[in-house]
Point group: C2
Chain length 429, copies 2
């Protein structure tokens, strides 16, 4: 039997070049969240199935979860999202963790989806969450972080942050349109799916929810309203939080990047306050890059006191597409410091010693691992993207010295064996 | 229903402190392999079941693999080891990859095992492989790398590298003891399990293999022999490679760390040349930390030309235990540069601005995210391990300045708001 060399459908192999790019991308994310004082956590990629059955969207659990039973009959799932793991970990040590909690992770997540552009079966996702702290400060900070992440890649000018508030929407629906929270929630889910269904089917489902025609009209009109048109008719905590957030945004770096959008609702059941989505403003790419929101009831599942939190999850695939669209990807290279050539059996031992010495002193060194022509090894040195080529040939061997060629400039010099490190190291710094 | 907060049995949660330690440990590994010119790769954690059915040890596939069928009926497994993924990826691009190939990865691997000290159901494992290149140079380099990794942690003096050669063992068994390669291989596997079975059962299985009593005796005596007692009776490629390796080790940093041990055989089917295991020499911990070996037939599964390689896999759990045993773990801290306090609603906006400014300039900044007493916030600043505390209180607000306290030394000074960054940044560098 011959095995196929392609990876499982909808997944990716990271060859060194792609891996160097991933390292650069994750490194940029990490540097940014660290400026915000976030600390990294991680948990196992396999979790109890029940962890997702409880709170993750029904669609995901029913149709998209990778799951299995272990040999002890325990039902396990490969994590489709990180928030349940984070909530479980926080619940376990809720008394000990220093507050406020600012946590991040870049987990690998899995969903059984039909692979298409921007949607794979596995991806990596920056998860950043703030737990505890006052809503007004934490909400502002998470938006600042989302913006700063994009800005760190040079993409700040291309994005817009669309925000809404679940409690505000609930209040408007209940008090102004006169539908219960329950129906309102059914409505929100329905509207979330609106683009995926026929107009007729959408209207049928609307009446099935028990809405009058005028209520249904109001609901549809709601999504065209400006912030003031909504907020002037309500007075609850959602409106107050939003007013305060807009106030605190004034003078901030991201003031003009944030816009109110009543259609931002986020499908997940667990959002209770601010919800937001980051959009690429460019016409060819007008879609949500990532989003998040505030949740108040994650820890209850574990029998713990509630702790309010806000966070977002940003996938690597969408981010990479965004960076490509806006030409924001620098040349990321896997450079090596030195290539030590080996052109004759007589110098084998010397080549091994020089290599061992340069590595011990901290340089990254590649070697051909076989005796060969200098011309071929020079080509190899360039393939491996080395800064310097060390030549230990007949002339050098007889004079107990080495020739060193700078592969970027083409300059070449001779020095004693003992001097190679210092000469190269000076040029590298 | 209340969900448990503990992770799945045999797995670990990494809270920020544990995560910082993991980062430090992986960072040390990465720096070392990079000195050797290794490049990082990664592949999906789910692979086709067949990839393991072919070459991974039977015991693992039958009893330890986590596997499932996806919704399309494809049989998938969570990777129990990285080598099959690496082989698949190399086979896919065998014509394009620059030679010699030096690749590393630190994947998360899963096996269904009874959890016990040093054996979890998931672990992380440094995988380093060299493909192509002459055996004599590649074998030496992989041993140098294994040693350097331990040395990078300050553990070089505590370890010993025990080596053997599969072809040498095969030849000795065939030519000197007179058993076929097939029987010899059965014998090797049996001997690998010797410690786990009763003496009687072991002897029964020996005769079942068709060995005479004298042959069985010779086999048992074999494992007590010195290198010269074996090598003087054979002449094949295994012996020649080993002779050359010992020759090249002379004068090398790890010369005295390498010892010949005929009992090192490694269970895996795919080793064909040099095999080695790194042992902790200390009496309380006398066991293999990790090991590896040379393989010649990995790519054939994919219908590709063979490419000889050598590599090892080093688990994080064993490494951590080793570092603990020898007290080689430094204090790894999650330090933040600054904690900006917020003691009154009147200074909210100022605190937000100062925080935004310091973060934009590159400092890592934590804040309380709520108004509170300075005494409590000072405590929080220490919990978050901040270098500096910025105080924006009544006096500071009125004088349009800030007080800055160095939390390491206790020194405190005042400066203008605009000077905070420079003052702190100078002290940090």
């Amino acid at each position: 039997m011959t095995l196929p060399t392609r990876p499982y459908k909808g997944t990716r192999d990271f060859y060194p070049e792609a891996m160097a790019f991933r390292r650069w991308m994750f490194g940029t994310l990490e540097k940014t969240v660290c400026r915000f004082g976030f600390e990294e956590y991680d948990g196992p990629i396999l979790e109890s199935f029940d962890l997702y059955a409880a709170k993750t969207g029904e669609e995901i659990v029913k149709n998209q979860l990778y799951w299995m039973e272990d040999r002890g009959g325990r039902k396990l799932a490969i994590r489709p999202e990180m928030t349940p793991t984070m909530a479980r970990m926080v619940a376990a040590k809720i008394q000990e963790l220093p507050r406020p909690i600012r946590w991040y992770s870049i987990p690998n997540l899995w969903r059984y989806e039909r692979p298409q552009r921007g949607r794979l079966r596995e991806h990596w996702q920056l998860n950043a969450d703030i737990l505890d702290g006052d809503v007004q400060f934490a909400d502002l900070e998470i938006l600042q972080l989302a913006f700063s992440v994009m800005e760190a890649f040079g993409g700040g000018e291309f994005i817009e942050i669309r925000i809404n508030h679940r409690a505000m929407v609930d209040e408007y629906f209940e008090k102004v349109i006169g539908v219960t929270t329950e129906v309102a929630h059914g409505l929100i889910k329905l509207i979330d799916l609106k683009d995926k269904m026929e107009a007729e089917s959408f209207n049928e489902k609307l009446s099935a929810l028990g809405l009058t025609e005028s209520q249904a009209q109001s609901v549809i009109q709601f999504f065209e309203l400006e912030y003031n048109e909504i907020s002037e008719k309500i007075s609850g905590s959602g409106k107050l939080e939003m007013d305060r957030l807009f106030e605190n945004l004034k003078g901030s770096q991201l003031e003009h990047a944030v816009v109110y959008d009543p259609s931002i609702l986020r499908g997940m059941d667990y959002y209770t306050g601010l919800v937001f989505e980051i959009y690429d403003k460019s016409p060819e790419n007008r879609r949500a890059l990532f989003g998040g929101g505030r949740y108040d009831n994650l820890l209850g599942l574990f029998g713990k006191t509630q702790l309010s939190g806000i966070g977002f999850g940003m996938g690597d695939v969408g981010l990479e597409n965004f960076l490509l669209t806006h030409d924001l990807i620098p040349l990321v290279r896997n450079r090596k410091d030195v290539y030590v050539s080996m052109t004759d059996e007589r110098y084998e031992k010397l080549c091994i010693q020089v290599t061992e010495d340069l590595r011990a002193k901290g340089l990254s060194v590649v070697t051909p691992l076989s005796v060969g022509k200098l011309k071929i090894q020079l080509k190899q040195a360039n393939q491996h993207d080395a800064h310097f080529l060390v030549i230990l040939g007949e002339e050098e061997f007889e004079n107990n010295c080495a020739s060193v060629k700078n592969l970027d400039t083409g300059d070449q010099f001779q020095c004693s064996i003992g001097e190679i490190f210092n000469r190269i190291n000076t040029d590298l710094n």
